[in-house]
């Protein structure tokens, strides 16, 4: 217990420095901003800001980047409620009842409960993270190369399973991600792989140009197909504080959403989006007035909004304790840690307690800041929503150019980014799931290392993956998911059922 209190105290000392408070503020501010603005998500933004973090300490960098991630979950609800366009994919469900509430003149309470729900969920998630992370990282010490390999296979399978659209296409994206990660010099043999004589490719494809291209440029090109004027509420939003009845109706949904979201968020493959759907379905199932759902039920906003926030906190568990990202965003955070020369894994908390505990405490601070940013200042964000996309997108492209150029002062990186932008745009049009590609790309080198090490340990015997219980369990689950999902109708009917229920 003393050790725990010492760690908390260390976290406070780290998070409350002027520098880290500043980066936390910048993170949640940018997170809210991009959450509000449709057309740019946390993935693109984090990759855009990665080069800026090179000059600051790893703790400050992670505090800021994490702030963007959970801040975007707050901001995403604003557009869902006010314009029926989800700012983030995790806010899709919020549109259903949030927009109906706004149409009935209850935009204020909807925004209010979304912000309070996110705050409560963020806080519960942070507390759970604090208590679970350490025992989890001790458990992580039992992991050797075979366990890591199998867990990564499970993470990719999970993400492909929960991906939108066809599982085959998601698996193709996973294979492409691993394939792209193979470009460059092989660390073991020193041979150049698939560089086609281009010197700039010897270090491999950069994470920043890849993500900025697929997420940033790709998304902009897609949005450019349809630039329309969005109709938002012209009047000032008033009455943000939910009434006592609103609280009574939604507090249960918030608590349930928080726990559900957190645990689904910890799953390899990540479950932020799925947690919002499940939370909505759950609330509708246990409600005494299920018929109200879809017509402006406050529980339909409170539950999913809490779930997506808690899930974004839960996703830090596998990242900090095992060094494994569970979704594309935490994969970028893993990239950021590695850029700063840190070795993510079970020893991270022990070796860098300042980073772990500082980030945790900064999450508390970030949640308070987000409440302030999202409630009293809501009218500023609404004004921002009125900035036409035709004005906004040239600036986004301009930032992408600077972001990718500044990594190596090379136009080659910008060209790579544009190439992946076109690829992302095309893949999106044909229903391919890009986050799976990103996760597989980041995990690719780790996957290769653990496979090679495992085979070295076992002298080439493949049964090493099935002789060890953790590894065998992970592979069995992954195999089960694959077999189950190839009975396409079964998988579709479950996802469709959740969608229809929502």
């Amino acid at each position: 217990m003393t050790g725990f209190l010492e760690n908390i105290s260390l976290g406070y000392q780290v998070a409350f420095t002027i520098q880290n408070l500043f980066y936390c503020f910048i993170g949640v501010l940018v997170g809210t901003l991009i959450g509000v603005l449709p057309g740019i998500g946390p993935g693109g933004t984090i990759s855009l800001l990665l080069p800026i973090t090179y000059g600051i300490s790893p703790t400050s960098a992670i505090i800021m980047l994490a702030g963007i991630y959970y801040g975007a979950q707050y901001g995403g609800s604003t557009t869902s409620i006010l314009v029926n366009i989800p700012g983030e994919s995790t806010s899709v469900v919020t549109c259903i009842d949030g927009y109906q509430m706004a149409r009935q003149g209850r935009a204020g309470p909807a925004l209010g409960i979304a912000a309070f729900g996110s705050f409560i969920a963020g806080t519960i998630g942070t507390i759970l993270l604090m208590f679970i992370a350490q025992p989890m990282s001790s458990f992580g010490l039992k992991f050797g190369p075979p366990e890591y390999f199998s867990l990564m296979i499970l993470a990719i399978t999970f993400l492909a399973y929960f991906a939108s659209g066809s599982m085959v296409k998601a698996l193709i994206m996973a294979a492409m991600g691993i394939g792209l990660s193979q470009i460059g010099i092989d660390m073991v043999s020193g041979k150049s792989r698939f560089t086609f004589g281009i010197t700039s490719l010897e270090d491999g494809v950069g994470l920043v140009p890849l993500v900025m291209g697929l997420f940033g440029i790709g998304e902009i090109l897609t949005n450019l197909e349809e630039i329309g004027n969005i109709n938002i509420f012209k009047s000032k939003i008033k009455g943000l504080l939910p009434t006592l009845k609103d609280w009574k109706d939604s507090i249960g949904s918030i608590i349930r959403g928080s726990f559900l979201g957190f645990f689904l968020g910890t799953l390899p493959g990540g479950g932020a989006i799925i947690s919002t759907f499940i939370s909505y379905t759950l609330e509708k199932k246990i409600s005494r007035h299920p018929e109200k759902f879809g017509t402006g039920a406050i529980e339909g906003v409170a539950g999913p909004e809490s779930a997506n926030n808690a899930a974004s906190t839960g996703a830090f568990i596998p990242l900090f304790t095992l060094g494994l990202p569970s979704n594309a965003i935490t994969a970028l955070l893993l990239g950021a840690l590695m850029i700063h020369g840190m070795q993510p894994g079970p020893f991270l908390i022990k070796k860098h307690p300042d980073l772990f505990w500082g980030t945790i405490i900064s999450m508390y601070i970030g949640n308070v800041l987000l409440l302030i940013l999202n409630l009293p200042l809501i009218n500023i964000w609404i004004k921002l929503l009125r900035v036409p996309y035709r004005i906004l997108f040239p600036f986004l492209l301009f930032f992408c150019f600077i972001g990718s150029y500044s990594i190596n002062n090379s136009l080659f990186d910008v060209l790579v980014m544009l190439l992946f932008g076109i690829t992302g745009y095309t893949l999106r049009k044909f229903g391919y799931d890009l986050p799976t590609l990103i996760l597989a790309f980041v995990l690719g080198p780790l996957l290769e290392n653990s496979l090679r090490q495992s085979l070295l340990i076992s002298a080439g015997a493949l049964d090493i993956f099935f002789k060890r219980s953790i590894s065998a369990t992970c592979l069995t689950i992954a195999l089960f998911i694959l077999c189950f999902s190839f009975l396409t109708k079964k998988r579709k009917s479950i996802l469709t059922k959740i969608g229809q229920d929502s």
């Binding site: 043999s189 792989r193 076109i422």
Partner: protein, 150 residues
């Protein structure tokens, strides 16, 4: 369309396998530099074939396709944006950051709001200068220099 996609992935997989063979695949005892790319190539070939087969047997029953979009889409804007971005990349080390950025922003504004050229001119000018001051002077980011040194 998914059939064509499946064929592309299959070809890519074959290319990856052939490339891996040149790198030395090795075996389970001693995996070489081409080991993982070869496995990935095999997976791509298999999944590509599955995509082709599953779509040819489901003819008439489109799967994984969203409902037909009744809104009119504008493909000219994304196409022109890519072309302009390419020109921006190619000219930024000749014209320099300031001039290339100004022309890039101005032409992008013109694609989406062609009749407001004076406003586009003004926004592009202010944005270029502010961008230069913020990124070059304040944040110290290296920016491409042209023949004139700016």
């Amino acid at each position: 369309m998914d059939q064509l996609g499946g064929a592309v992935w299959t070809l890519l997989g074959i290319g990856l396998c052939l490339g891996s063979l040149k790198l030395k695949i090795g075996g389970f005892h001693d995996p070489g530099a081409g080991f993982i790319p070869f496995l990935v190539g095999l997976i791509l070939i298999s999944l590509g074939v599955v995509l082709v087969i599953s779509n040819s047997t489901m003819r008439g029953e489109p799967q994984d396709q969203k409902a037909p979009n009744i809104r009119k889409r504008n493909y000219f804007r994304p196409f022109m944006t890519v072309i302009l971005f390419m020109i921006y990349i190619l000219t930024s080390e000749v014209l320099g950051f300031l001039l290339a950025t100004f022309f890039f922003l101005f032409s992008l504004f013109e694609i989406t709001a062609p009749r407001k050229w004076l406003m586009s001119l003004l926004i592009s000018f202010v944005a270029t200068i502010s961008g230069y001051l913020i990124f070059s002077f304040w944040l110290g980011c290296p920016l491409p220099k042209g023949l004139w040194g700016f």
